[in-house]
Symmetry: C2
Subunit: 322 residues, 2 copies
């Protein structure tokens, strides 16, 4: 089968591979769509904590089983036994194996998927839209970790696809989404989506109120953390949805602001099956809006070409169609 | 009246002062007990964010009204109108005026106290014990911010009086308190209290499990933050109960651990009236244990003598008796 393998950092190649063998409790899924994530681009550029090489990347997967059923894939495989699994945080399982990270993913014609990771989708949901369930469910996880409530004002750093999907999830939670974006290009690119969904745009100039209930970073700059904390009302919550890529350390005075202003910080990493089911519901409800986030449908061999665009912030979502 | 005034950093003097004039909605409280807080010592040594000089310090106050009623004092004065007040976080009020910080406090024979800040105490609760309601309610606030639940394992950095009171609150919440303390002296000094309340002691050697649900720092070292995060299970919560006094910055890799391990961080600063009422209940229930935290009852003029002992960790609680 055709597959796209990250052989080493910087080297992503189209390769012929054997159709994967399946273990008990797995099925062979014919991949129909796999959307490209910024994390795929990051892995290609600099690696990632959970990446084991060589690897078939791709973790935003929609496909069809041999019996003709359509599924999206929760890319994790959790033990089901550890403390995190037992308390419903399977994304934090100590034995976690993630497709496209620890195990081969969806940039291939077929993928071996644990039966427990298959989430059925409605006939009415197109596969390209369905493949966005994974990133949207990560956004839903961020909202849940930050405890977003109805009528909260939520500021999101970054108007890339994840920031915009997060804003959509905020809107769906009956809260008020705002975005901050330093790139004028990204603001232009996201304009129709923002208008349609009702996402307000905040500039540094008009935001001197420091009164957001929740701030979420969907961008990896250290500034999102430093400025984001200052954007919060006392007792507000900052969600570290993106890890930070800058190396400069954080002044202790910033940490002490957390103490004095009784702020909350929460991480968000991955998602659960339950959150993917919620995401599918949202994708159905906002199908026409979500479509605006798709730049193009591409072939496997086009992925290396679009990764630099994704890293450069010159694109929203590309979806590999197989 | 006699009063103890912090005239400038490092200079705390016994001074004659006028009995304070009271505004409408205030009463004149005859102070009977005011316990000495580490924050008083810190103000004397280096100042504090909310300190306005010159100032009569002291914010752990118990007293008696002209009509003979006994009260402890919630040291805050909140506006009651702002967003924080309306959502029950009056300790974060933007207009906050704290006795012993912004306004004169309890190291004096009399204090002017807003009627709304008076919390009545039972005849059965001695004034020395009652004066500990304020620090204990700050500990209760820390537990509430961190979301401590029944059966949680809670690690507290620091076996000083605040750490020990926090551990008591953990025990009262039917969770399991553990303390980490680097000073052998403090471990000896707290031994009877720890045994009586059922607080386990953790050393660096036996704590390689990184599996605490909650970690709370009741000590200002930067290490409590760095090590404390590593002590948490994935999804666990660190409570910044103490600000950090070291100046070395925090590496970004530490912040990224919050992202990847989906940790929570929360600040805790001050307390609410509701939490002070909870603290009074706890003080009644654990009266005999709490007594073990009191080193001595002292006079106003002894306070400057005990502050270095408090800063040096050579003491638990001193209570000024007036």
């Amino acid at each position: 089968m055709n597959s796209l393998q990250l052989e080493k950092i910087g080297s992503l190649k189209l390769r012929q591979a054997h159709i994967p063998e399946i273990n008990s409790n797995e099925i062979l899924l014919k991949v129909t769509h796999c959307s490209v994530c910024r994390t795929d681009a990051k892995m290609w550029e600099r690696g990632q904590r959970d990446l084991v090489l060589p690897r078939i990347l791709g973790h935003e997967i929609c496909g069809i089983s041999e019996s003709g059923k359509r599924f999206v894939v929760w890319p994790g495989k959790a033990c089901g036994q550890c403390r995190q699994c037992r308390r419903g945080a399977e994304n934090l399982c100590r034995e976690m194996q993630i497709m496209g990270f620890h195990k081969d993913g969806g940039f291939a014609e077929y993928a071996a998927v644990p039966e427990s990771s298959l989430i059925p989708i409605s006939d009415k949901l197109p596969g390209n839209i369905a493949s966005l369930a994974e990133p949207l469910s990560c956004a839903i996880n961020a909202l849940e970790q930050a405890g977003v409530e109805k009528k909260d004002c939520v500021l999101i750093y970054g108007a890339g696809p994840v920031g915009l999907m997060t804003a959509l999830a905020v809107r769906a939670a009956e809260a008020y989404p705002f975005v901050k974006e330093i790139s004028p290009d990204k603001l232009v690119r996201s304009e129709v989506f923002r208008r349609q969904v009702g996402i307000k745009c905040v500039t540094d100039v008009d935001n001197n109120t420091s009164d957001f209930d929740v701030v979420i970073n969907a961008a990896p700059s250290r500034d999102t953390f430093l400025k984001g904390l200052a954007d919060l009302r006392p007792g507000g919550c900052f969600c570290l949805f993106s890890g930070l890529t800058d190396d400069s350390p954080i002044p202790v005075s910033v940490i002490n602001e957390i103490h004095y202003r009784q702020l909350g910080i929460t991480g968000a990493y991955g998602c659960t099956r339950e959150q993917m089911r919620s995401a599918l519901k949202l994708l159905s409800d906002y199908k026409e809006d979500i479509r605006l986030l798709i730049d193009d449908h591409i072939e496997l061999e086009d992925v290396p070409v679009v990764l630099p665009k994704i890293l450069g912030g010159q694109a929203l979502k590309f979806i590999v169609k197989l």
